[in-house]
Symmetry: none
Subunit: 299 residues, 5 copies
């Protein structure tokens, strides 16, 4: 298990520090861990994601869930934030997702265009912003350029920047795929090198050893892989994402291994709201138990 970075060790200015402290210590379990509820799938995948639980298509359902479930934050695109968040202002931290795209065109040269600005996030009272960086995409130059301006604005406004560090595009598909240990590890490091305050990562699959560069061709355990990935993120706080809906035991296992590895928290969406409300709450309660066992010091 890696030492988890504290906010004080982070080199943060007072604005980022205040906002992250609020997220981590004034909400959720108030123990320095985090459980985020992402809700940008309506843009990323379309309404098909709401079929399993039609109620989930209503942003109010999600916001109520976030509050009742004691989440540390909810992630919205600008439109839903403007239309729905005002009624919930101050009740749960808002993470404004700044870029996003539909899944309709090919993502061989994936790039997630900007839909809102950090200034808009400030105006909405958000406590953090999110940016999807498609690590390794052939459109890397445009992506880095777009990201750099977001990072600079986030610094100017003292707004924590959460980077969705997602390996994507034809090049990484040719080198083992987007969720190989190699890809996720490189993504973690890239986010840290480029100044993410928090990085959202998928759980690595160390068994995907084909076509990956050395030393990733040698199989390691899932725990070893996630340990390495958290280490590669350095002082960027790590959130492990749930990904598509899968079995609960696999999810708890992923959660526990991630927290053991030194991650700061979890960001689970479809696994939470693609089921009925009561089941969601039971699932969340178990996730919270995992987080409860992995407190952080405020120092």
């Amino acid at each position: 298990m890696n030492e988890r970075p504290t906010l004080a060790s982070h080199g943060l200015g007072p604005g980022k520090h205040s906002r992250l402290r609020r997220i981590l210590f004034d909400h959720g379990l108030r123990n320095g861990t985090a459980l985020f509820l992402p809700y940008d799938q309506g843009l990323e995948h379309g309404p098909r994601d709401f079929a399993a639980n039609p109620a989930s298509s209503d942003p109010r359902y999600i916001l109520d869930l976030a509050i009742e479930g004691g989440f540390n934050g909810v992630v919205l695109q600008i439109g839903l934030a403007q239309q729905f968040f005002w009624e919930y202002a101050g009740q749960v931290p808002l993470v404004l997702k700044l870029n996003g795209k539909t899944e309709i065109p090919s993502d061989a040269e994936a790039l997630s265009p900007l839909n809102a600005t950090v200034e808009e996030a400030v105006r909405l009272g958000a406590d953090a912003v999110g940016y999807t960086l498609y690590v390794g995409t052939p459109a890397q130059e445009a992506d880095f350029e777009q990201y750099r301006k977001v990072r600079a604005d986030a610094a100017r406004f003292g707004m924590p920047l959460i980077v969705w560090a997602y390996p994507r595009g034809s090049a990484i598909e040719a080198k083992g795929g987007r969720d190989s240990f190699y890809a996720v590890d490189y993504a973690a490091r890239t986010a840290s090198e480029l100044g993410a305050d928090v990085v959202k990562l998928n759980f690595p699959h160390p068994d995907k050893t084909e076509h990956v560069p050395d030393p990733y061709g040698t199989a390691v355990s899932a725990q070893q892989a996630v340990d390495a990935v958290v280490r590669s993120a350095n002082r960027s706080l790590v959130l492990i994402s749930g990904g598509s809906h899968a079995g609960d035991d696999a999810m708890f296992d992923k959660a526990r291994r991630s927290m053991d590895a030194g991650a700061t928290g979890l960001i689970f969406g479809r696994n939470v709201w693609q089921r009925d409300r009561d089941e969601s709450m039971r699932f969340v309660a178990t996730l919270r138990k995992v987080l409860e066992e992995h407190p952080s010091s405020a120092g």
Copy 2:
């Protein structure tokens, strides 16, 4: 007693709403009232204000007091905020006072120059900004011009704007003085007319009837005066300020009348920290009782 405005009735955007809700419902008594600790007297009056309790000259003493006393916010100028607030980031809301001056030159044509910007307040993680408007000063044109830009920036960033509405300058001194019912009532209305989210007012002295225009020349009770003043502030939330150190009973009386009148809270500085620590805490405890009896709904 006036009906106290709720945040929902305020016409606030989500940013101001989130931040005010945080101040009023996530700190202090968490019941929609507020107790603020102002600490800009070192600039406004100089270190002489710390003579009664030398420990109070250290900003850390004040920040600790604000946290221990369960204040809803602490008011600092930019320098102290930068040098001291980072250690307390997220533990107590920061109100960045944007303007201020020394008392050395004459204030016949009082104007309080800008020392910081709303953008800096955002960067520091502040939850509100403060601006002193010298109502009735001969320098009114420069003051309104300066204020207008601050108000616009506060709107742009969703940052609650607290206006210190202080009658000041030679003209108001010739018309009954700065704390007459006439002057304070006019100041309350001016803040409301010019877009204050919150207004800080001195308690009116309805007995100062000399040289004031009608109908303020007729004496009314203290309660009638403060009722009227809160009414004049409309939907700008009212904070009543403590002013210079006076007897505790007078203070509690002032506090109770103000809250009865529909004020949202109190902003007491010298009355709090110009005594030793234990006495401060006892004094604060009694103020909190007054606030406890005047809850607001979050609606």
Copy 3:
């Protein structure tokens, strides 16, 4: 004796931290103290200041003196910095004085106009900038406005800001004069409230008790006064200035009391170079002994 603030406690970003650390630990005694050589008197007082030692009129003489004497920095206006510093670049830290004026017109409403920008200081390779704030001047509004922009630029460029906090103008002359304990103490606090990283102060004269506000009307010892002044500066590092040429024993006494009080260093100009070279060096050697006895930790 007060606890001296360390750089780490200062809330500084890495740029200001790097530059101050360079000044305090890579030059002079390398023990966290500082001895600065100011050389803007040619503008502030005119060439008459060089009459006592005509060689001192040549900036190269001063730069050589700064290097040989092991100073932590030399203070120049933009013109001399441009014409002379290039030959000494990297040998002694440059403090670019950003504002300054001649003494010819009246200073009843003193204001020191800007002669250079923080960006020019960066371009010249300076390690700090200096700004004269005339505390209490009737031109306070223009002064604070001008200062605010300099402070913001200094923050933007990570450039340490040294404030010459000088009580000046008709209003302070009517309240005990520019070097009273009251005036210097208020100046120290003003610099801290407004965000000085370092503040240059004159040694207070606690015997000037006429016309000053309470509690300054009661005489205290010189040591008590300088202790209070350093305390009022909070986390702004204090430099005590030498002022006009006076007896050596008085100077050493002032130096020792200041360092005992928790000052970080001394800024002595005329007392250094208004005598011949060898005498200067002997004088500096004794000042250095005082500094040697008051080391700071880098922490």
Copy 4:
């Protein structure tokens, strides 16, 4: 005699260096000295200055004179430069005078407003710009502010900046007057402190000892005074101005003493063109002899 600063010692960038080298080594005596013909008196004093030689009212007369007399440059305001210089472009260097005023209002609070910009000087093909700084004027703040921008533009465009450093205004009149040794010496130093590449000074009158500060109250010789003044200018090249028309012997004496003192050249207007053409040429020929005896190295 002082050592005359060479261009290489000046800390100039390549643009200023190229243009000054062109003025000093491709025109006039090509020996590093300079003789300038100022022609802004039509604005400063009005057409009355042309009465002694009506032909001098025609700018073409002056430009022809400058070329025939082998001047190193001619000084014009923007209007004359636009209307007349195009016919002479490249034949004689143009110094565009950027500010200027009429003599009609009082100059108790003298300030010379900007009439053109450095960018216009570039567009006109000028080789230097001129700026009148009224040293010691009660309008010092506005003057320094205006000057600072000109200096920064001159740096940005690599354009040599010639400062007319003229003590002026009620304050200096009360301290010995505008051409006292004290006043001229302070003006020389001020120009150097504020970054003049070249400074135009009046010849000092050391016999004006009344009301001046020490040590200027003690009479010195004219040579001692001009020596000191050139020394005060440091690396700003000195031009001594002719002033109002006076006897030729006095002029030659002034010229010789100035060049002996280390001045780089002379700037004589009315003494040149307030007489008929042939006399002008004879006068200029004698001035050139003085310059011939004081060559500079290009180093």
Copy 5:
């Protein structure tokens, strides 16, 4: 052996001069040579570079190594600089690498996007900035455009600009490859033509004569090649890079030949930290001996 350019011959302004002098004479061997520790491989190659010595994945390990090994500077991307450098501020010069990319997509049309600005480098207290110019890339137009703005900003802020002049892309691969004498020599000249203050080059391979234009088709010795390359860099100071980890003798040979050729220093990363700590120190000690034998004058 070529004459090594001195800082004074460089045409540098005072800011670049101060900062380079600091790097070359206040750190490392303090003899005008330089040994840099580059640490951007986590972005350029991914965490796989840390497999040989897992401790090297922690930026603190590298910063400690840089200080203990007496390096003249450490090269970081913006994220690591922000999160880690603040603890080391002032202890070792920071070179902020401004652009960089992952190796995942093809580099046939290599372009390294900007991740930070020169202004951010100033704010962080960096002493130089680094830019990778892919000499000969088909994306040359975008690269030169991006580079031009960086160069202009570096000039504006007096910040030394180190150019990683790397032949890259399909075109150079078709003409002998990225490390041919032809390619490296052209890269050195390109950096000099485009205004690099310092240029980082790979050691040329004069044996790669296939497909290169005349006269590079004729084999020369390694010493002749590196001599020519340093000559091509003109007054841009040359740093020779270590490249991927290879045998120590080959490295020392490369180092000695480079310094003999007039290079100013070495920039070795993987060869330093891809081994255990003690071995690193022994390796560095031998490199320092080479530099010790090739001192530069500060002139």
